[in-house]
């Protein structure tokens, strides 16, 4: 099984490498620092969301509401800041968005962990509740006059400049947020009992209950954590795009889940790695941004992502089915 899992990750890595080779051959300008820094920037929001979605899959559930959480947290935070304290420093803005995200995640947690409802249907429901609430009661206008510190944050760069060859590049501090989320989640998953419990309930809920894992609390935590990550991703999206758009992000959830599934996480729970997820994100970002470079019109983007999902889940599923038939 380890071999199978690595195969999923290596498969994605191989596809990425092939993609880059073909892209470089057809367009020598593809493989430059500029493209790389563009792609990296495009991966930040998707990456944070994907790590959250991965956590849910590991715990044995599926969440489609996180994009609605992200956009709600971002927009509510922005309007609150504008109304109460426009000069609010960026770290307060970020914390507020994360808190709102965690709160909305807790609502998912109550229905899933508390009532034991099927995760897909609950999150389909909350997806429209959150979005409907946002657009009805908070607002449906795009706001481009963001709190100044939100805009300032997007201008804060780790590095920027022009290479000797004349390629412009810029790495924003938002990238550090992704790095932080990766490290935090890695520690959570591998170094804490809570993280191991998430794997355990994904592996077998009944066994987890029998050895005394508090299954409900663990599930609840997962949805709160995912909500918090979504809150962070949302506010990053807002400040990097320099616009609070209540219609953005929602619709992205399928691509995010595609990335996670491509990375080897399984719907039955218990399996998923950060490396795999990030590789999946990289592939999706490549498809979203550079499909045209390898000669596929960008109108085929959706088809490509869908086909990748089917391939990424179909191969292991088919192998598992055949292995089961062989074992008798």
């Amino acid at each position: 099984m380890t071999a199978l899992l690595t195969r999923n990750e290596t498969l994605v890595a191989v596809v990425i490498v092939l993609f880059c080779i073909v892209a470089t051959i057809s367009d020598p300008n593809f493989f430059t620092v500029t493209t790389l820094s563009d792609l990296l920037r495009a991966s930040i929001v998707l990456g944070i969301l994907a790590i959250g979605a991965m956590l849910v899959l590991i715990s044995g559930g599926i969440d489609v509401s996180f994009t609605a959480i992200a956009v709600s947290a971002m927009y509510i935070t922005t309007t609150t800041a504008l109304a109460l304290w426009p000069e609010m420093p960026w770290y307060f803005i970020f914390s507020l968005s994360i808190l709102i995200g965690a709160g909305l995640g807790a609502i998912n947690g109550v229905f899933i962990a508390g009532f034991g409802l099927p995760t897909l249907i609950v999150t389909l429901g909350t997806l429209s509740v959150f979005r409907g609430f946002l657009l009805t009661f908070v607002g449906s206008e795009r706001i481009s006059a963001l709190p100044p510190d939100m805009r300032n944050f997007s201008r804060m760069m780790i590095a920027r400049g022009t290479t000797e060859g004349g390629d412009f590049y810029a790495l924003p501090w938002a990238l550090a947020a992704l790095a932080f989320v990766i490290v935090l989640t890695a520690i959570l998953l591998h170094k804490t009992m809570l993280g191991r419990s998430i794997f355990a309930i994904g592996g077998s809920v009944e066994s987890a209950r029998r050895i005394g894992i508090n299954v409900r609390r663990t599930q609840f935590f997962v949805y709160v954590y995912v909500g918090a990550l979504a809150g962070l991703a949302g506010i990053l999206h807002g400040s990097m795009g320099r616009m609070a758009d209540p219609f953005s992000l929602v619709g992205l959830e399928l691509s995010v889940i595609a990335a996670v599934v491509l990375g080897g996480a399984r719907l039955i729970g218990g399996y998923g790695t950060i490396t795999g997820t990030l590789l999946g994100v990289a592939l999706i970002v490549l498809v979203q941004n550079s499909l045209i470079v390898i000669g596929i019109p960008s109108t085929w983007q959706s088809v490509t992502i869908g086909a990748l999902i089917l391939l990424g889940t179909g191969l292991p599923a088919y192998q598992a089915k055949r292995a089961a038939a062989r074992a008798g």
């Binding site: 599926i62 229905f111 009532f115 034991g116 409802l117 099927p118 897909l120 249907i121 609950v122 389909l124 429901g125 909350t126 997806l127 429209s128 509740v129 959150f130 979005r131 409907g132 609430f133 946002l134 657009l135 009805t136 449906s140 009944e206 399928l254 889940i257 595609a258 599934v261 399984r266 719907l267 039955i268 019109p297 109108t299 085929w300 983007q301 959706s302 088809v303 490509t304 992502i305 869908g306 086909a307 990748l308 999902i309 089917l310 889940t313 179909g314 599923a317 088919y318 598992a320 089915k321």
Partner: protein, 338 residues
């Protein structure tokens, strides 16, 4: 064939609860705004509105009966509509009339149904032969179907049909809206299929316990294939109605219908874990939803608020129903899909 629930009193069935809900919602809306809600114009407009998503809900129902789900229904309906629309717009064109128009419409309808059947067949293969979890299979295929529609049209709407196309979505037959007739026919057909045929009973049995179905020498792959093909064809019928009513086809029409279809099926008492569901319940759920939706419309509630109310309703109904399903879920626990 009498089901396990026939022992329960009529008043305890989810369908009975639903009938009450439908009546209450209707009465409430009628009381809030009797002139407008009960007007012939409103009633007719409701009858034109709901069939498109109600048919998608029927497609969702049959897949949920097997413990699966079809997240690709909207993608299938748009893809089949785009194919039909392309035929009607580029091969026939707006000037075509008379027998030629009828011929092109027939060809377009057949093409649309074939697209639906082929898409459903693809879903069925993914779920049965390849063993993908239905959620991921239809999520992926839904993207592919939508994507194909985008690729065919470049994302723009296809329009310029012969006038006859409006017959499907905008005309009446003996004062009954044609979409309503189509929905009625499909609902009755599905009801008969589920309750009066061996295939329907096998669907229920498979949904109740797939492993036991295997041991009872039921051809599981064939059941799943046929279920998803039916769902695909139902979706394409919905696509035709949408196309006719909008007088155009586009890759992203009806994007809110997926949620609505799931909501109606769940509201209608269909068990998402499989093994229980009745068309009567789904029809009652459709009616409740439409009364509610139309009432909200008259109260000038925005589309966004309606989305909120639907989402909340979905979760509320799940909470109410979960007690009924707890037993079923425990039975199914050993056969995790995937």
């Amino acid at each position: 064939m009498s089901g396990s629930r026939t022992e329960a009193k009529l008043t305890q069935t989810p369908e009975f609860r639903l009938a009450i809900i439908a009546v209450v919602v209707f009465a409430l809306m009628a009381a809030l705004s009797p002139d407008r809600f009960l007007s012939a114009q409103n009633l007719t407009s409701m009858a034109f509105q709901f069939p498109e998503f109600a048919i998608l809900a029927l497609a969702m129902t049959i897949t949920m009966m097997t413990g699966g789900i079809d997240l690709s229904v909207v993608g299938v309906s748009n893809l089949s509509a785009v194919v039909a629309a392309t035929i009607l717009a580029s091969l026939a064109g707006p000037e075509t009339a008379g027998a030629a128009a009828v011929m092109w419409l027939t060809i377009a309808l057949l093409a649309s149904l074939s697209v639906g059947a082929a898409a459903g067949f693809a879903n069925g293969i993914l779920v049965s032969r390849l063993g993908l979890p239905p959620i991921l299979a239809t999520l992926g295929s839904g993207l592919v179907f939508t994507g194909l529609a985008v690729a065919m049209t470049g994302g723009a709407a296809v329009m310029g049909f012969p006038a006859i196309v409006a017959v499907i979505g905008n005309s009446t037959l003996f004062f009954v809206p044609v979409p309503l007739i189509l929905f009625g026919l499909l609902a009755v057909a599905l009801h008969v299929l589920l309750t009066r045929t061996g295939f329907g009973l096998r669907i229920t049995m498979y949904g109740a316990n797939p492993l036991a179905a295997l041991y009872a020498a039921i051809d599981l792959d064939r059941i799943l294939l046929r279920v998803y093909v039916i769902a695909g064809m139902f979706s394409s019928v919905a696509g035709m109605i949408i196309m006719s009513r909008a007088n155009s086809a586009k890759a992203d029409y009806g994007s809110s219908y997926l949620l609505l279809a799931v909501l109606i099926a769940v509201l209608g008492g269909v068990n998402p874990y499989g093994g229980y569901g009745r068309v009567v319940g789904v029809v009652l759920a459709v009616l409740s939803m439409q009364f509610l939706s139309s009432g909200l419309n008259m109260l000038q509630v925005s589309n966004f608020a309606r989305e909120l109310i639907w989402g909340a309703l979905l979760i509320f109904v799940m909470v109410i129903n979960i007690t009924d399903w707890a037993g079923l879920r425990a039975r199914r626990a050993p056969v995790k899909s995937g």
